[in-house]
């Protein structure tokens, strides 16, 4: 009798205990320590990973890059396409209990546009004013139609912070961020951890299954994986390609991947500085064509990324609807490359290739060097520390530069700033008025078919000029504990914590 009841009591305690255990902590390994946790000032990818738990945005993207509701439930463009009207989700509160409404949206957009040091100013430069129509309706006005605006709001420019906290903390907001996401800020120890806790007032709280998230930075990919394998972490981002097989063979871990919306490419100085006139690649489009033909993108993929990347020759991957089908990836053709060099009168051109000292870039440079040699190119690798290389690019002090871009959901984000005249990321110095007109036109309409037609035309011009030789699109590689379910891969590489559970 006593033994049965003791057993019953024991099992009751165990059941209660395991029930409580399902409110748990997700320990997440980041590839580096994020920068300031302020959506207006933030500039790193890892920061966005933390934000996806901390700060909700007006809209989000789906895995196939369509815009979906988050803090805004509906939207439409005005008839003249110069205003974007957003209907907001009702009964949403910030982590400090303040109401989320149209006034809050107005505050946030204006903060993004006016705060000193804001990194969002360029993204929202098209917005001229924000109107509060009613507490749940807000109108963003632009001077001219700007199609990429909605996609811009799916990132930090659309993140909403609590106006009360924003006004109280000012530029020190990052020390105690208050947003409207599924998790609220608890503490941050620089380079050690960022701790978030479930926000009980979240509008979608029933789908949030973790009680806490601890983000910890591990710069070395091997160490990051070791921590996952030893049980210190539950999820890691940016798994090294060479570790993918080991994770796939480990029954306690799961491997996940998705093609990025960014790319890896070689930017060529064709007009940024005088170096363009004196360098072989910069001065002659035939030599650039020969250079591209000497490369085997599949080979680079196999050697550097273990076959896990997707070869490409445009600013979007071949699987992306915006890819210009009239400009396919050229196959390697060493004979034609040699012939082009002969025609150009330079059978053995010298190429000084500025290469950031990251593992991937260094490997790509070495493979490129070997491949281009077959056609007669003398590629000299200039290994340069990353921040220094950015400086050189900014001044035009380079001939060719291996550079990756993390990508934006709207193809315009991979295009305009790079190829329109005098734009901030136009390191090649390309300045083609016909191209500028096409790119400007592609922003003026929200009709996807028209924009696609414009991009086809742009692709032809860019392919002819070759300011960037696009090489491939990497895959985001993840590894996590096999006990974790509900993780969906998104092409922007971010992790959506709602719906995940262990």
């Amino acid at each position: 009798m006593i033994r049965t009841s003791a057993l019953a009591a024991l099992s009751a305690v165990v059941l209660l205990g395991s029930g409580a255990a399902s409110a748990q902590t997700l320990r997440f390994g980041l590839a580096e320590d994020p920068d300031a946790l302020d959506p207006t000032l933030a500039r790193t990818f890892v920061g966005r990973v933390v934000f996806s738990a901390l700060c909700d945005k007006l809209v989000d993207i789906s895995p196939d890059l369509k815009v979906v509701p988050q803090l805004a439930t509906e939207w439409k463009w005005s008839d003249d396409n110069k205003s974007l009207i957003l209907k907001l989700r009702p009964n949403v509160t910030f982590h400090d209990g303040e109401k989320f409404d149209a006034e809050a949206v107005k505050y946030n957009i204006e903060r993004h546009k006016t705060m000193q040091g804001s990194q969002r100013r360029g993204e929202l430069s098209a917005v001229t004013s924000v109107e509060v129509v009613d507490p749940l309706t807000v109108k963003l006005n632009t001077a001219a139609p700007f199609a990429p605006l909605l996609a811009t709001l799916t990132d930090r420019a659309g993140m909403m912070i609590s106006p009360k906290a924003g006004k109280a903390l000012g530029e020190k907001f990052a020390t105690a961020p208050v947003c409207a996401g599924p998790f609220k800020f608890v503490e941050r120890v620089a380079q050690d951890r960022i701790v978030l806790e479930k926000y009980d007032g979240y509008w979608n709280k029933d789908n949030v299954h973790f009680q806490r998230i601890e983000f910890r930075p591990f710069v070395d990919a091997t160490v990051r994986l070791a921590n996952l394998r030893s049980g210190q972490l539950d999820f890691i981002e940016r798994l090294a390609a060479t570790d993918a097989k080991a994770v796939q063979n480990d029954s306690k871990l799961k491997f996940a991947s998705i093609t990025e919306i960014g790319y890896y490419g070689i930017t060529i100085n064709i007009g940024k500085s005088d170096k363009a006139k004196t360098s072989a690649l910069g001065s002659n489009p035939k030599i650039r064509e020969a250079f591209e033909l000497s490369l085997d993108r599949n080979g680079i993929n196999k050697v550097v990324f273990d076959g896990l990347a997707t070869p490409g020759n445009q600013w979007v991957a071949p699987t992306n609807p915006a890819y210009a089908k009239s400009v396919p990836i050229p196959k390697r053709d060493v004979a034609k490359a040699k012939q082009l060099l002969k025609e150009a009168g330079n059978p053995n051109p010298v190429v000084n290739l500025v290469t950031p000292t990251t593992t991937d870039a260094s490997k790509i440079a070495q493979v490129v060097q070997a491949m281009a040699k077959d056609a007669g190119f003398d590629v000299r690798i200039q290994a340069t520390e990353f921040a220094t290389s950015l400086n050189m690019a900014d001044k035009g002090d380079f001939e060719a530069y291996i550079l990756a871009w993390s990508g934006r959901p709207d193809p315009d984000g991979n295009l305009y700033s790079f190829h329109a005249c005098k734009q901030p990321l136009n390191y090649s110095g390309l300045c083609n008025p016909a191209l500028d007109e096409i790119l400007n036109d592609s922003r003026l309409t929200t009709d996807m078919a028209q924009r696609q037609a414009a991009w086809e035309k742009a692709a032809k011009i860019i392919n002819a000029e070759r300011p960037i030789i696009y090489l491939l699109h990497r895959k985001w590689l993840y590894a996590h504990s096999a006990k974790l379910t509900g993780f969906k891969e998104y092409p922007d590489g971010l992790i959506r914590f709602v719906g995940m559970k262990m």
């Binding site: 300031a36 000193q116 120890v189 910890r216 591990f218 921040a387 900014d394 993390s406």
Partner: protein
């Protein structure tokens, strides 16, 4: 003695000023514009210009230096451009961690190195000597990051005995703290142990050959009293000086080891700061470390005094 102390402390000030000028100047020599390094991926020109203005990067170099020194005299070490936190807060957060790692590594080094050196000296030319030499050389030559990763793979991934990373404050949980620190302390300690071993060995050999040791033995003292009280205490003198230098080096941050074991100490802080051109952080850390170095050397000199009666006048 007090005059000596006073003089040494007085030299601290000009030394630090000199160090501050050097580190400030050297950073300016680094290619790369901090504003561009700090700017987002989009490299918005207006954001870059505002960053430059906010952190006084557009002012002439002596003005920037003056502003920085002025701030320091008021206790303001500036702000990390990257994470927008005051440098003094970062220093206070990381200093105890680095100190703890340095102390533990020193303990490991001493516990291994000193006895090994004494044994080596006593059994000079025989197998314990050679064994100690081999072990010492291994500890010195093995790269820290390799040893660290190997230990993580063995003790954390395969055996699961120790955590692979992370730091828990000793005030929070002493046991967890020691568990997390034991591997990095071992990795760092083995490197230094070899140096201690070699120095102790040669110091002991020198001392053991001297007259007063022969006298002590002739007096009929127990061997362990001869070795322990007389020989070792005199051999310890050069080891103390060495210890101070090595400790200073440990304080400056074991960069690779901290990266591998994810210990939030100075090493990680300064490396990230250099790559991000976070000038204020680099300057703050270097100034801190330079002060520690000078003070440690002073302590070593004082210890020297205390241990060697002949120096006390």
């Amino acid at each position: 003695m007090t005059r000596f102390l006073f003089r040494r402390l007085a030299i601290l000030i000009p030394t630090l000023i000199f160090v501050s000028m050097i580190i400030f100047g050297l950073q300016q020599l680094l290619p790369g514009d901090p504003a561009i390094a700090m700017a987002g991926e989009e490299r918005d020109p207006q954001a870059i210009a505002e960053l430059r203005a906010k952190y006084n990067l557009d002012k002439p170099i002596w003005v920037q230096y003056g502003l920085w020194i002025g701030g320091i005299l008021q206790g303001d070490f500036g702000e990390s451009i990257r994470i927008q936190l005051p440098v003094s807060q970062l220093l206070l957060e990381k200093l105890p961690v680095t100190i703890e790692l340095a102390v533990l590594s020193m303990l490991v080094a001493l516990l291994i190195g000193l006895p090994a050196g004494v044994i080596s000296a006593l059994y000079n030319g025989r197998w314990p000597d050679y064994l100690a030499n081999v072990i010492g050389l291994w500890g010195l030559s093995t790269p820290n990051f390799w040893l660290g990763i190997m230990m993580i793979l063995l003790f954390s991934v395969h055996l699961g005995w120790l955590p692979a990373s992370g730091y828990v404050s000793p005030t929070e949980d002493l046991w967890a703290n020691l568990q997390a620190m034991i591997m990095p302390a071992f990795v760092l300690g083995t490197g230094i142990a070899a140096v201690f071993m070699r120095h102790t060995r040669s110091a002991m050999l020198q001392v053991l050959a001297s007259d007063y040791i022969r006298t002590a033995r002739a007096k009929g003292l127990y061997e362990r009293v001869v070795i322990g009280k007389h020989a070792f205490r005199n051999a310890a003198v050069p080891v103390i000086t060495l210890g101070a230098l090595e400790f200073g080096q440990l304080l400056s941050g074991a960069v690779l080891t901290e990266q591998i074991f994810s210990i939030p100490g100075f090493g990680k802080l300064i490396v990230d700061a250099v790559f991000n051109r976070d000038y204020a952080v680099v300057q703050g850390v270097v100034l801190c470390t330079a002060t520690a170095y000078v003070l440690l050397n002073l302590l070593a000199d004082i210890a020297y005094f205390l241990v060697n009666p002949r120096l006390r006048t």
